[in-house]
């Protein structure tokens, strides 16, 4: 993925994020925020047994956090908890600058270079941290 392609994916998902401010009656809510900055996002998850049937979100955050949330939602809907946790693990590998499974992350590969920007790594990881917490809670 070129820098220009990455940029386009991020900007498109920032300007028109997927499933932002959508109805979420009966969904499980989880909040995710960065203590070091001001990003603050609520995720709403609808489960069907062990499968994520739907996710919506609202809140305030920077371009990286919003776009990362949007891309994550697109990629996680339809996944089982185990598949979702696998996705999250690969995402963290990418933002840590380690080798990762590009096929699994799809569009989310646009954040490959973010491991070099310490300040923004937490922004990209933010929604993943939130959904990870919600999945682990769901599995309890």
């Amino acid at each position: 993925m070129t820098n220009e392609e990455s940029r386009d994916i991020i900007m498109n998902n920032y300007l028109e994020p997927y499933h932002r401010n959508m109805p979420h009656d009966g969904y499980e809510k989880t909040n995710t925020r960065n203590v070091s900055c001001i990003d603050n996002i609520n995720l709403y998850i609808k489960w069907k047994d062990d499968t994520i049937e739907d996710i919506t979100f609202d809140g305030e955050a920077c371009a990286i956090s919003i776009s990362s949330t949007s891309i994550m939602i697109k990629n996680l809907i339809g996944k089982t908890s185990k598949e979702a946790l696998e996705y999250i693990k690969e995402f963290y590998k990418m933002t840590d600058g380690e080798p990762f499974n590009k096929d699994l992350l799809k569009d989310a590969c646009c954040y490959e270079e973010i491991s070099k920007q310490k300040g923004r790594k937490v922004c990209a990881n933010l929604p993943l941290k939130g959904i990870e917490k919600a999945i682990l809670e769901h599995l309890k």
Partner: protein, 398 residues
């Protein structure tokens, strides 16, 4: 002005985050290195020359601070770790004992967390009421609005002299006059005021004042708690230990030292306090009035340049301090800060520790420029050029 005094300013960097902390001039850094290198003894402890020198330097800072804020007595100057500790000491050491359930404290929604949370805790602990002085359309405190919320139960007004988001300069002298006519104490959070303009505690007639060295070219970890002597006598020491006691034999026989030592338990930040003394000498040389006037001119210059930019929404056009808070249309404040950082321009994004202000302003997060005397018109030109091109901001914000 005086840019040559600051080692960091030799680099290609524009520092506009002075409300968070200020840069340090070489003379202050050197003074602390001198302590650590040449006389690193403890204060008030030794009977030898090195320790004597420490005592002298440490107490000279107290003298300098006393004169700087025009306090009456040396005993009124207590060294703390910063404004936050000073405010907490005032609330827990003085007012927790004094206030009763349903007594009222007046603050505003634009206070910093350190002037809100200690009161909230006291509200939970003792049932006092935390009420708010309404802000006017410019988010200012007015005497008329203050009069509306004073009741017979009001015991304390605790407010910032200059707020760290709106940057308004509060009419502290008038507030104190009205407060004292009604037997109300006034605590002045001077964190953003003392570094930028002359603050005379006797003229203002404040009962307590808190401020930090690091926001005024001094070291981190040093602050001042000023209180009128007759009030400080009743402030319960928050920490007990060495240096502050005269003798102790049993729980019923504890004898504490007089002010100010009684409120400075343990080994203090000696290097910091000594460095702070040098800071005050440095600021005195420049002149606080000169600093304030220069910052006011610089602010006006920036506002005049930003106003024509349609995509910039300035929150505090009218304030008189060096704080300018704004947003760029449809761009999250942190993305603006990130964009400016690419050009080595340091600004702050967020809620600036004033988390309840959003209820008044209706904006959660902003970009804040905070000026100091070493900032220049040229730096403002560079900033404005970067902010002028909206497409460039959007293109480069990620």
């Amino acid at each position: 002005m005086n840019r040559e005094d600051f080692p960091l300013l030799k680099e290609e960097i524009i520092y506009f985050d002075n409300s968070a902390t200020s840069l340090k001039p070489k003379c202050v850094i050197d003074k602390m290195v001198d302590y650590y290198t040449n006389y690193p003894a403890n204060a008030h402890r030794g009977d030898y020359d090195l320790s004597y020198k420490v005592d002298q330097e440490y107490e000279e800072t107290r003298e300098l601070v006393k004169d700087f804020i025009h306090a009456r007595f040396l005993e009124e100057i207590i060294f703390t770790s910063g404004t936050t500790e000073s405010l907490n000491m005032i609330v827990t050491g003085f007012f927790e004992e004094l206030l009763e359930a349903n007594d009222e404290v007046l603050i505003t929604t634009s206070e910093h967390a350190s002037n809100v949370l200690p009161w909230f805790r006291l509200a939970n602990k003792k049932g006092i009421k935390v009420n708010y002085i309404p802000l006017d359309n410019n988010y200012y405190v007015t005497i008329d609005n203050l009069k509306k919320v004073i009741t017979p139960k009001t015991k304390v007004i605790s407010i910032a002299g200059i707020t760290n988001v709106i940057g308004d300069i509060r009419p502290i002298k008038e507030i104190c006059k009205l407060a004292h006519e009604n037997n109300i104490f006034v605590i002045l959070d001077g964190a953003q005021m003392v570094p930028h303009m002359k603050v005379d505690v006797e003229d203002l007639d404040v009962d307590f004042l808190a401020f930090s060295a690091h926001k005024m070219c001094g070291p981190t970890g040093v602050g001042v708690l000023y209180g009128k002597k007759e009030l400080l006598e009743h402030l319960e020491p928050p920490i007990l230990g060495g240096g502050m006691n005269e003798s102790f034999d049993s729980p019923s026989e504890i004898y504490l030292k007089e002010l100010p030592t009684r409120l400075e338990a343990g080994t203090r930040n000696i290097a910091g306090v000594i460095g702070f003394g040098e800071t005050i000498k440095y600021l005195n040389k420049i002149g606080m009035e000169r600093i304030h006037n220069y910052e006011t001119d610089l602010r006006k210059y920036l506002i005049d340049k930003l106003l024509p930019l349609k995509h910039i929404d300035i929150i505090n056009i009218e304030s008189d301090s060096g704080i300018i808070t704004f947003n760029v249309a449809n761009v999250f404040s942190q993305d603006v800060a990130y964009y400016l950082n690419k050009y080595n321009v340091c600004v702050r994004a967020g809620n600036h520790c004033a988390k309840i202000l959003k209820s008044s302003v209706g904006v959660n997060n902003t970009v804040r420029i905070s000026l100091y005397f070493y900032n220049t018109y040229e730096e403002i030109d560079n900033l404005v050029e970067l902010l002028s091109n909206y497409d460039k901001i959007v293109k480069e914000m990620i």
